[in-house]
């Protein structure tokens, strides 16, 4: 069954572009051009995900999200030209599941849609997340016994060194590791001028687990201190 996605934006071209993007990914797309329309469509038909702009006539995105949240629990991705941290926090706190700033990266948007849908339709692996062998962090799940990292429940192929780094960071979520410490614990050697070496590996892991490696969400550099996987 094709998942049905509602795209809401007052800019018809953008709606169309997103629709094209998503249809290519084999989704069914419904279109709306303001908040009121969006609410009507949601009332009429079964929708699995909503991508909604913030600044719209009649009823703005944030209000629409609040209205929707009164009844429905479907994933909502906010799409806005406002890229400030405060805007993101506001959007997420009133009930949106994700926030994508304009101009968006089409591939990233597609990936986020996929991620949200998977979690909404499969509802995650509760058993897995309950197991002590698993470390669950947002999109990521790391099985300590298998030493396998899953993103959106898909296993990620990592080299041995990368696995060691992921193992270290996932088992210590949120803790900042200086490059030297990572090097010492992963390579088991005395660390000297290892910043570049560690960085190379970090970048490669990012490319495998992040949607947008240039703006990482999970594997982050704490500038002037070290590296960490952010706790979600």
């Amino acid at each position: 069954m094709k998942e049905r996605i509602l795209v809401v934006d007052d800019d018809r071209e953008i709606v169309k572009a997103i629709a094209l993007l998503l249809e290519k990914e084999e989704y069914e797309v419904l279109k709306a051009y303001d908040g009121m329309q969006a609410l009507e469509i949601i009332a009429e038909s079964q929708v699995q995900l909503i991508i909604i702009d913030v600044m719209m006539p009649k009823l703005d995105g944030l209000s629409a999200v609040m209205k929707i949240r009164e009844k429905r629990n479907i994933p909502i991705i906010l799409l806005s030209a406002k890229s400030e941290d405060t805007d993101k926090v506001l959007g997420l706190s009133i009930g949106a599941d994700d926030y994508v700033a304009k101009p968006y990266n089409p591939a990233e948007l597609a990936a986020r849609v996929k991620s949200q849908l998977r979690r909404y339709t499969c509802l995650g692996d509760i058993n897995a997340s309950l197991s002590t062998a698993n470390v669950v962090n947002g999109r990521l799940r790391y099985n300590k016994e298998e030493r396998v990292l899953y993103t959106d429940e898909e296993p990620v192929k990592l080299t041995a060194t990368e696995t060691k780094i992921v193992d270290l960071l996932m088992c210590n979520l949120g803790r900042v590791f200086p490059a030297e410490e990572i090097y010492r614990r992963v390579w088991n050697e005395e660390a000297y001028a290892v910043e570049n070496t560690v960085m190379v590996h970090i970048r490669r892991i990012r490319e495998k687990i992040e949607w947008n490696p240039k703006e990482p969400e999970y594997l982050k550099v704490v500038w002037g201190i070290g590296y960490k996987i952010e706790k979600k």
Binding site: D11, E13, I14, A17, I18, L20, L21, K24, M55, A81, K82, S83, D85, K102, P103, Y104, N105, P106, A107, P178, A179, A193, E195, N196, V198, M199, V200, R203, V221, V222, W223, G224, I225, G226
Partner: protein
């Protein structure tokens, strides 16, 4: 209510209250004075109102004085060891013999005390009226000649008839038949007890008062009946109205055993004038009894006046009480009028009155000290029931005092409206017109005056020591002046200091950026103007800051809106470019066009974001998360992060960074952007094959990082490269947004560091320094 009647009620209420009050005061004081000197005042009042002059204390004193004199005369020259000064009486006689002018005579008819005459030559008819006691004690002091002389002088005073006998021989008389039983029938027949049984005494016509001394006791008869000589009994000498020889209080002296005195007093005394009595052209005059009679009548009148005026006063007081509501209104409205009058005009008369009263009081006390009771008697004539004039004057004085008190009661600080206050005010205003410095100089006048007076002080003290009291007073006044001036000066200085303190405080507050407080100092202060100006400056600063904040906010808002408006079409462009890219079966050259479109749209996106960030940083609205971090590590991480770019570029990087940690306090992600931009810049603009030097030096206080590269283009020397949209190459053809250095600078500064760009020939040096955390 009718205004007119209300007004008249107000007037009545006020005037009657004042009049009643005044009259009561006058009458009470008169009464107090009058009561003085009478042993039994109610009896005295009774006597006075009885209008019989013979029933008064004065009369009794007088005739007993005369009797004493007659007794004296009866034994004159017989005292073997005479002690009295023979001249004493004569002097008094001569004093009494001052010539009287006709004018004085006429005055005498109306007024009893002619001016210029002393008490003595007025009353001193030789009968020693006030010396009743003295005569009793000084008896036997008279010589025969003196007695003769006295007889010569008083014989013409037909108000008193006398016959003085000793050992059956008539010595002196002015009425031979007095006391002789001639068998004549007269109007008055008096029966007196003598040695030989009852004796019928014949009184001449017009005489009704008889005194007879029989050698042992004095018998007093009035209107044929025996007079009551025991008003107060016979106990104490001093409490006694009559001091008659032969009674308990005054035992008859043996010396007078042979004396027989007959004395009759006229019922209606008259003025007796005998001209040229002593052969020297002097006029002799005796009118004491007449005076007594008149005075008695007069006094009775004055007592009646007193009673009448007292009743009047009560009526007034009652009226005043009835209209007391209106009185109060009247008081208020009068106070309103008097409040406009200069205070000096009110105060000076009050002080003058006060001074006069004080002087009069002192004088009265002095007079009392010297003259004793007689002064009081003299005063008595002036006060009781005496004349409307006195009351009116008193009313005026009291009225004026009342005005003053009323003014002080209903007007707040009445002294503010005064000539002095006006002059001081003028002085103040003229002072205020002067600039502050001149005013300060003027304050030195105090110092000068103080110094001058202080130098005078020892001089006057010395002079006072030599010369006495007056200078001592001057010295004291001078001293008070000095103290006063000193106080004024100190007070002035204190106020000035307080004002200065406030001004300085306000300057400090403005300096510290506390722009809300509006400090005030009094307008009369010399610093008021300065304070006002300072407040203006502060207001100006406030406004400027407000305007600046507002404009910055508007700028950020504008840029946010603009970037939002740009981002919306940009989103479409990027989206459709992406879709185009995914289109299959396009010719190669079209694919190339699409990739150009893609890269340019991506660049546009970066630029929009950069513009937004740099404008935010410039307006100080960039959020920073400060923490302690290792500067070395940050640079290492940045280089590591950019390794690919570095590897792709034709330049290499040389690092000179200490091994140990250099801790600074900054926002790591912002600082990463700084070095990212700097290294990107360096990579982009460096000469091919050259090296980029990245140094970090940990100094005593600062950690200084520098990025040096050799430019491939010639660097313009006159351009600030950190300005927004400025580039080394003016053609602007390369890929950057032109904001790299600008972002680096604003981010560095937002994190609290300093950012410096130098160009030495082709060498381009950027220095970023932070205070290192120890």
């Amino acid at each position: 209510m009718d205004i007119k009647s209300k007004k008249s009620k107000m007037v009545i209420g006020l005037v009657s209250w004042l009049a009643g009050f005044t009259i009561i005061i006058v009458n009470l004081s008169g009464l107090c004075l009058e009561m003085y000197g009478y042993r039994d005042f109610p009896k005295h009042v009774e006597e006075v109102l009885g209008r019989d002059y013979q029933d008064t204390e004065e009369f009794r004193d007088y005739i007993l004085g005369c009797m004493s004199d007659f007794l004296e005369m009866s034994v004159a020259g017989t005292n073997p060891d005479q002690v009295g000064e023979p001249g004493e009486f004569l002097d008094e006689w001569e004093a009494a013999a001052e010539p009287w002018t006709e004018e004085e005579m006429s005055i005498l008819e109306e007024d009893y005390i002619p001016s210029g005459k002393t008490y003595y030559n007025y009353y001193g008819s030789g009968f020693g009226w006030d010396g009743g006691y003295d005569v009793v004690y000084d008896w036997w002091s008279m010589t025969k000649a003196e007695a003769e002389d006295m007889h010569d002088r008083i014989r013409y005073n037909t108000n008193i008839l006398y016959r003085i006998e000793n050992k059956g021989e008539v010595l002196y008389t002015n009425y031979e038949s007095l006391g002789l039983d001639s068998g004549q029938t007269e109007e008055w027949n008096y029966t007196i007890n003598t040695d030989g049984g009852e004796m019928n005494f014949v009184m001449p016509e017009g005489y009704n008062y008889l005194l007879y001394y029989d050698g042992e006791t004095l018998q007093v008869l009035k209107d044929g009946a025996e007079a009551d000589v025991s008003i107060h009994g016979y106990g104490d000498y001093w409490d006694y109205d009559w001091y008659i020889p032969g009674y308990n209080n005054v035992p008859a002296d043996d010396a007078y055993r042979d004396s027989r005195i007959y004395m009759a007093v006229a019922k209606e005394p008259e003025i007796i004038i005998k001209k040229n009595y002593d052969g020297k052209g002097n006029t002799y005059y005796s009118n004491l009894l007449y005076k007594m009679k008149m005075q008695s009548l007069d006094k009775a009148a004055s007592y009646r006046n007193w009673i009448f005026s007292s009743l009047l006063a009560f009526v007034f007081a009652a009226l005043g009480l009835t209209f007391r509501e209106y009185r109060k209104e009247a008081c208020v409205s009068i106070a309103r009028v008097t409040g406009k009058i200069w205070y000096e005009v009110k105060l000076l008369p009050v002080l003058a009155f006060f001074f006069l009263f004080l002087m009069a009081g002192i004088e009265a006390l002095r007079m009392f000290w010297w003259q004793g009771n007689s002064f009081v008697y003299e005063l008595q004539g002036f006060t009781i029931g005496r004349g409307i004039l006195f009351t009116v004057i008193f009313l005026l004085i009291i009225g004026f005092l009342w005005l003053f008190a009323n003014d002080a009661r209903y007007n707040k600080k009445p002294w503010r409206i005064s000539l002095t206050a006006k002059i001081i005010g003028l002085f103040r205003t003229s002072m205020l017109k002067l600039p502050f410095s001149k005013r300060m100089v003027r304050y030195n006048i105090w110092v000068f005056l103080l110094g001058l007076l202080s130098t005078l002080l020892p001089v006057t003290v010395f002079a006072a020591h030599r010369r006495g009291t007056e200078l001592l007073i001057i010295t004291f006044i001078l001293f008070v002046c000095i103290l006063f001036l000193q106080f004024l000066y100190a007070e002035n200085m204190r106020r000035l200091a307080v004002d200065m303190d406030r001004l300085v405080g306000q300057i400090e507050a403005v300096h510290n950026g506390e722009l809300q407080e509006n400090a005030e100092i009094s307008e009369t202060s010399g610093l008021a103007e300065a304070m006002e100006k300072l407040n203006d400056i502060r207001d100006g600063m406030n406004k400027a800051i407000d305007r600046q904040i507002k404009s910055e906010r508007m700028k950020v808002e504008l840029i946010a809106n603009v970037s939002h408006d740009i981002k919306t079409p940009l989103t479409s462009i990027i989206s459709y470019v992406e879709l185009l890219k995914q289109e299959e079966g396009m010719p190669e050259h079209v694919k190339e066009y699409v990739s150009i479109l893609e890269s340019k749209s991506q660049r546009l996106k970066t630029m929009v974001q950069d513009v937004f960030e740099v404008s935010k940083a410039a307006s100080g609205e960039l959020p920073v998360h400060m923490e302690n971090l290792d500067f070395c590590k940050l640079i290492h991480q940045t280089i590591a992060d950019m390794q690919e770019q570095i590897a792709d570029s034709p330049v290499s990087i040389k690092c000179e960074i200490p091994d140990e940690a250099v801790t600074i306090y900054a926002d790591g992600s912002r600082l990463y952007r700084v070095f990212q931009n700097l290294i990107q810049n360096a990579l982009k603009y460096s000469l091919e094959g050259s090296r980029i030097y990245i140094n970090l030096k940990n100094g005593e206080e600062d950690a200084v990082a520098s990025v040096k590269n050799t430019s491939k283009e010639e660097l313009p020397s006159d351009v600030d490269l950190t300005e927004r949209f400025i580039r080394g190459d003016k053609s602007r053809t390369d890929g950057g947004s032109g904001l790299g250095l600008s972002i680096a600078q604003s981010f560095t500064e937002a994190c609290g560091g300093s950012f410096k760009v130098e160009t030495i020939a082709d060498l381009f040096v950027v220095t970023v320094s932070f205070q290192s955390v120890k």
